[in-house]
């Protein structure tokens, strides 16, 4: 990891392996949609907390 605070660091975009395979069975589309809903609810709760703290 760079120590340069002024670096536009896109190194994660180069960290790819086209032959990598999943470690476990991926969720179905319906299950992914459910996961996104859960994550969004979790993020919303975090944002509400943040906004309260910033008042």
């Amino acid at each position: 990891m760079t120590k340069n605070k002024n670096r536009l660091d896109d190194s994660e975009l180069a960290n790819v392996d086209e032959n990598a395979t999943p470690d476990k069975k991926p969720l179905t589309e319906e299950e992914m949609a459910e996961l996104r809903k859960k994550l969004e609810a979790k993020l919303r709760a975090e944002v509400q907390k943040l906004l309260k703290e910033s008042k």
């Binding site: 120590k3 340069n4 002024n6 536009l8 960290n15 032959n19 999943p22 991926p26 969004e40 944002v47």
Partner: protein, 207 residues
Amino acid sequence: MSAKSPGKGLGNLVKSKKSIIDAKGNFKGEEDVEPTPELLAMANQSIDTAERAIANSDTEHAAVYVDGKQVFVKTSSEPNFVDFTPKESKAMAGATFTHNHPPGPNGEPIPFSRGDVKMLLQNKIGSFRAVSGNTQFEMSPPKDSAFWKTPKAKLAKLLDSTFNAVKDGYGYTGNKPLPTEVLVRVLDDTLTLVDNTLGLGYKKTTL
């Protein structure tokens, strides 16, 4: 810095340089790198023309605009980063910033990295753009967005936890590299979720 001369004090308009950083992370100056043809094609051009010049480049370039006027263009001549001096970073506040992501091996447009989102917050950039292949990406958080009230460390934590949970959903655990196609989906899902909740003003446009 006056509004009439946004590039004042920033040196040359066209920059092909990398930072020299000491072991403690302090900025110690810059070293020259080989300029690219794309960098020269961006100079003194509108943002749309500059983006067309770099959309399919395999090295990363950046440009900063204030009120539609180009302030500087820069490359590290490397594929995945561009360095800025502290003065250049300061000049990005409220400005329009654009850069490119080299497309994936099958021409996949590559969306914003987590590093991009952090840089947007850190430098309080008005409009943050990226171009990759046939797609332009943009983040323009509204002034009253919760995004601007998020501490940097908290943002990093939210991005990482969301990214990892989505990645897990696609069946990949741990820190091993992902195939480009999966990385693109994980980043896009992460950006959409953070946009829906913090207000990134995230959009994608096919060119």
